[in-house]
């Protein structure tokens, strides 16, 4: 059955995709027959989550290598899809188009950073870590550098970075569940958490792999279908990616015509928290080269250091497959990322162009307030208008919107049927769940494998190890949900911090572990802990009113952290003895794709 399952993957997921499209059609028909919007929303979220839970149950396992690395038999293309779902979080899905809509060029550094990082993954790390044969990222650090302290330091960095990230994801699942199921956010967070745990608890990495593939299919359909539909409906062109140049130019014209009027501080006080107006030109270069490049660079190095992404490449059958798989991952990510700016363009033009039937700028306040979708999204606290200058017509600077509205509200504004909004909710849920699953699993596996099995009880039996792993999974999930329920930070801010933490502590210890034979244990420990502490210090300093230096902000503090990490690692390594012969031989073996992996099949 096992080999059979892998051979039949294209067929299985083909049927699954067909089934999902069928479900969308059934819902569309049900809508025509009078099913309410609320029921459709519930049906979409409940149906998809049920399917993921079913896959999670079918993937249950009692073997260590299936639990930790999905038995190392995930084919290249499917691993690419799973990685893409693992990677694209609730933030990518719900908030990214909104960020582009409001901040334009300066924000699009994230698009470049979150894709360019995969070049580093493919060329510097993934194939070598696959050859190593590790279960977790600290497994590599612990074996390459030797010693429990090195292993433990890696677990610390991994936990700090991943935990920062995971609260944001559980928060996102909670937000979507609370809107779609119409329950309070404090409870919705736990509904989201239970859905997440259903995917990963029984099957570990194997369960997460096959649910992530299913989640990718849902999220990409949910993102692309509305973009293409809206583009056609607006007459902007059949294939928006190649055909929106006129629309981009038209937005520029309108911006000239309306002008960016700066609102008085007193007026802005009346705008609900989290909503913003359009204050920046859509396609103009509005950031200095260093501001753009430093943010992109921080995201790229962070990408290469985030353990939940790296561990996906431990599941491929070979080193060769790991390299190709990185390419497929980025291709599947590209499909969504290249569409986000198109959605932002379509959304903005449909709202501000007075020549379009959906445009609201230039209309009277009474007219706008009478529009159905305006009332809905105003009630959901995602849209707001206020007549600051008292002339009775809506100006560009008098219209405010939340970032999430670009993805969530544009289908409704463009007049698409409600079934599309239900689909978008299911897509957002899939995006947030798949990332949360990957992250919780990364933390729980690191603690169960590296701290419990490798440091505390090396003689533990497989059954006991997997039990510990599952208990940790639940504990970490609940801890994340509890913090998410407190709603401390926004979704996007904490996501970016996670990248900075990861690159501060892990980028150079990982890269130099493969590419610099002279790197030793003392250097690696100094690099990991020094980098993490330096990065965290810089963040706190800037957050508490510090001026910062070299234009490094609280979003790019990883540049400072990783620089400290590199310097410490090189100096301390050179001051202490070089690694022993066995370690040097191990590095040589890692560099050759053929032959046995460094660590045994089940270790």
């Amino acid at each position: 059955m096992k080999g059979n399952f892998i051979d039949n993957l294209p067929k299985i997921y083909g049927i699954y995709t067909g089934g999902f499209v069928g479900f969308i059609i059934i819902m569309a028909i049900a809508e025509q027959m009078g099913m309410t919007a609320k029921t459709i929303g519930i049906a979409f979220v409940a149906f998809t989550v049920f399917i993921y839970a079913l896959i999670g149950y079918l993937s249950r396992t009692a073997q260590a290598d299936a639990y930790y690395v999905a038995g190392r038999q995930v084919p290249t293309v499917f691993n690419g899809m799973a990685t893409a779902a693992d990677w694209m979080s609730g933030a990518s899905f719900v908030a990214m188009a909104g960020g582009i809509y409001f901040k334009g060029y300066g924000y699009m550094a994230l698009l470049v950073g979150w894709t360019g990082g995969y070049v580093l993954v493919a060329s510097l790390l993934a194939p070598y870590l696959r050859k190593f044969g590790c279960y977790t990222v600290p497994d590599f650090i612990g074996t390459r550098y030797g010693g429990n302290l090195a292993r433990f330091s890696a677990v610390v960095v991994l936990t700090v970075a991943s935990f920062t990230y995971v609260t944001a994801q559980i928060n996102a699942t909670g937000t979507i569940a609370s809107v779609a199921l119409d329950i309070p956010f404090q409870y919705a967070v736990y509904v989201g958490l239970i859905s997440i745990l259903l995917c990963s608890m029984l099957g570990g990495m194997r369960g997460v792999t096959w649910t992530q593939v299913a989640q990718y299919i849902v999220l990409i359909i949910a993102y692309l279908l509305p973009v293409f539909w809206i583009s056609n409906k607006m007459g902007a062109g059949f294939f928006p990616h190649f055909m929106l140049a006129d629309e981009v130019a038209r937005i520029g014209e309108l911006e000239q015509q309306f002008g960016f009027v700066k609102n008085a501080a007193a007026d802005l006080k009346s705008v609900p928290k989290g909503l913003a107006g359009i204050t920046k030109a859509h396609s103009a270069v509005n950031a200095t080269p260093w501001a753009f490049i430093s943010l992109a660079l921080a995201m790229m190095m962070g990408t290469a250091s985030l353990p939940h992404v790296m561990m996906r490449y431990f599941t491929t059958p070979s080193v060769k497959a790991a390299r190709k798989s990185v390419g497929w991952s980025l291709f599947f990510i590209f499909l969504l990322y290249s569409s986000a700016p198109m959605l932002a363009t379509l959304s903005k033009l449909s709202l501000i162009d007075p020549n379009l039937p959906t445009g609201i700028i230039g209309k009277t306040f009474a007219e706008v307030e009478a529009i159905d979708w305006y009332q809905n999204w105003n009630q959901a606290n995602l849209m707001f208008i206020s007549d600051f200058n008292g002339n009775g017509t809506l100006e560009l600077n008098e219209f405010f919107m939340g970032g999430k509205a670009v993805v969530l509200a544009t289908p409704e504004i463009a007049g698409l049927p409600y079934v599309i909004s239900g689909l978008v909710a299911a897509g957002g849920m899939a995006a947030a769940m798949s990332t949360a699953d990957g992250l919780i699993l990364a933390i729980a596996n690191a603690i169960s494998h590296d701290v419990y099995y490798k440091i505390i009880d090396p003689k533990a039996e497989t059954a006991k190890r997997l039990l510990v792993a599952r208990v940790l999974l639940v504990i970490i999930g609940f801890a994340g949900a509890t913090i998410a329920a407190m709603e401390i930070q926004g979704i996007l801010g904490s996501v970016i911090w996670a990248f900075d933490f990861a690159m501060s502590g892990l980028f150079f210890p990982l890269v130099l572990g493969v590419w610099w034979k002279r790197a030793n244990r003392q250097g690696a420990i100094a690099g990991m802990l020094g980098g993490l502490i330096a990065g965290a210090w810089y963040l706190v300093w800037v957050r508490t009113g510090g001026s910062g230096f070299l234009g490094i902000t609280q979003l790019t503090f990883g540049i400072f952290g990783s620089a400290v990490s590199l310097v410490l690692m090189v100096i301390v390594s050179l001051m202490t003895a070089e690694p022993d012969k066995a370690t040097q031989k191990m590095v040589d073996d890692v560099r050759v794709p053929s032959g046995k992996s460094i660590l045994g099949k089940s270790h």
């Binding site: 698009l111 070049v119 580093l120 060329s123 396609s283 291709f331 794709p593």
Partner: protein, 86 residues
């Protein structure tokens, strides 16, 4: 020089080429973002805007597949490619 050293030398050479191309598309062109945005580029978008939306992203996808193929060739040349049944 042993077979393995030669293999590593070539692998490192490929890494430098890959990182150089990566540098151009992720950092190099954005040093001239303001100037380049004045010029109309592919599909009629301004150049810099197009790179941030599609150009750089697509270049990375192609670069990774190109890199993977080149590395496979290097591995084959020195007899280090994996057997299919491994």
């Amino acid at each position: 020089m042993s077979n393995q050293q030669k293999h590593w030398e070539k692998t490192r050479g490929l890494l430098f080429i890959t990182l150089a191309i990566w540098f151009v598309f992720s950092i190099g062109i954005f040093l001239f973002g303001a100037e380049m945005n004045e010029v109309t580029g592919p599909f009629g978008y301004p150049w810099t805007y197009w790179f941030t939306c599609q150009g750089s992203l697509g270049a990375f996808v192609i670069l990774i597949f190109w890199f993977a193929n080149r590395q496979e060739k290097i591995d084959e040349e020195f007899g280090f490619s994996e057997r299919e049944d491994e």
